[in-house]
Symmetry: C2
Subunit: 329 residues, 2 copies
């Protein structure tokens, strides 16, 4: 009901019975306006925010709750910070089933626990029927990083290698198939997961230049960001980019390009040729890291983003224009 | 277009031409995943989040942009923290006019400057036509407070006074009239504004127990929160609660109770009888503070929230049940 967002009794009951119950932790006090953050000496807090409007709200391998936690956790992780605190705002459409809300909040709570973050503040709004897509979640995360220089695009140089921590596009295709707009079966699960173990493992390795999670816009958008920021080219090798057979089949059937598909539990890194083998070894030693590999290199000569195709040709990978898959996150 | 939220070229252009242009500051770098926060030694960061779904998006005295900034700034201020950083997430409905978006973002930027906060991170999502109410904004704020004890409800005792920094309910009625659902004219402006000057002025005064901004659910909800948390009663004096004549007239005509109306630029404080005159003097010395006054007291005997009426009777002020004015913030 709209009254669940009005600041009165029903809102208090909703917050207590659903949000506070599942997200309870020593830092969450629903009676306060603002929550204190404990920042250890010598650490710099980093902040990031993301709004989640994925459809459908639940899909194989995750839901909007786990996605809202992991998406923000991962933005902190690829910035080299250890995710610590989250805020969670919910915009709920009038008529949304309470049981479904509770299932999603429980999933968010589990994801927060798995990622080692505490939800310390929240807000709940209810919008009229037809104006909310069911549920939107918005998370803001604070992570901590030791003082000192951090990975960033400014260190990228020609000859550096581009690395992927695992298969790409699983999340995009899992959400697509869950919409059941296409008569395609299959058991593709989203890769939605925290990448903190993957980023923590490689942050200390000298020669690591840059990390990013290839979410909206996929690998192609990360490559274009690198090219735009550095003035260098990015050259990817089609046969080295890890894409599951099932994902590739879906792309072929539907005319999608896997390089634009979102992943929600992967890292793209750029590193010096000396650092790359150490990074890949560190990733491969982690659970789920068996498919980590080098997928391309930074190239001073080539146009912004080039793909060396499996048959020996090359093609431009354009910046994403029209959205092949809206509302993927 | 939906493509403005897809992570590709159009999204980059929208962010550069609207969000980054107006919100530009040395801490905003739209190419990063996460932004660092500078926390001075000895200061504790506090965090809060709020989603804004007000309808209409623009109203006399403010709009969803200034409201999204001030609402979060004020949650930090009443926690005794000095607001410093904001994140801003926008959920935009497909088809929303760019000119209107730009007007609202510009208003948010002005409000941030006036409140002394920097927008350091953001996110943009576009949802299909009919699923977004035009525009939702979600802000998260970080403020700083010196280490040490802070105002809180635990210090409240019977005999303490309840204080208001100005007239109540202006925002609620301004938004209501802007909807033009009722054939009522009038020139009531929202009180939407940062309360930082009001909170900073009184935080150092010994005997200040507690501060809160009476937004959703109004004064009545603040009073019920106090009663629930302390086990004490709150007794308000009808003739002392400052409500503009025009606001009172609207309430009479429409059958609303002004004690439930939202304000977005006011503070309710609880203080010892010794501290109260100092707090009121400090508030009255501030621009716009001329109507600050004591409006009631904490009462160990009475039921949760009692109103001493102007005609000499008393009535219970119930906890808010059904929403008289949905989507006020």
């Amino acid at each position: 009901m709209l009254a669940h967002g009005n600041g009165g009794r029903r809102m208090r009951e909703l917050i207590e019975s659903v949000f506070a119950r599942h997200l309870a932790n020593p830092s969450l006090d629903v009676d306060r306006d603002a929550a204190p953050l404990d920042i250890a000496p010598g650490m710099v807090p980093f902040i990031t925010t993301d709004a989640f409007t994925v459809q459908p709200l639940e899909f194989p391998g995750g839901d909007i709750g786990s996605l809202a936690v992991n998406g923000t956790v991962n933005d902190l992780a690829v910035a080299g910070a250890l995710p610590r605190y989250l805020t969670l705002a919910a915009i709920i459409e009038e008529g949304f089933p309470l049981a479904r809300l509770e299932r999603i909040v429980r999933s968010a709570a589990r994801a927060a626990e798995a990622a080692g973050v505490r939800v310390v503040a929240g807000d709940t709004k209810v919008v009229p029927r037809g104006q909310g897509g069911g549920l939107y979640l918005i998370t803001t995360g604070v992570g901590l990083r030791a003082q000192g220089p951090a990975p960033g695009m400014t260190g990228i140089a020609a000859g550096d290698l581009v690395l992927a921590s695992g298969t790409l596009g699983d999340h995009g295709i899992a959400v697509l198939l869950a919409r059941q707009e296409f008569d395609i079966g299959g058991s593709i699960c989203s890769d939605c997961a925290p990448v903190t173990a993957y980023t923590s493992a490689i942050v200390p390795i000298p020669g690591l230049r840059f990390m990013r999670d290839p979410t909206r816009g996929g690998l192609a958008s990360v490559a274009h960001e690198i090219a735009a920021a550095t003035g260098l080219g990015v050259r990817l090798r089609e046969q080295d980019v890890p894409v599951r057979d099932a994902v590739r089949s879906c792309c072929t059937m539907l005319g999608y390009d896997p390089y634009y598909l979102a992943s929600e539990g992967r890292v793209i890194a750029v590193a010096s040729p000396e650092a790359a083998p150490r990074i890949l070894a560190a990733w491969r030693a982690l659970p789920g890291g068996g498919q980590a590999c080098a997928i391309g290199r930074i190239d001073g000569e080539a146009g912004p983003v080039i793909l060396d195709t499996a048959v020996g040709g090359e093609r431009f990978v354009e910046e994403l224009e029209d959205d092949p898959l809206p509302r993927i996150c």
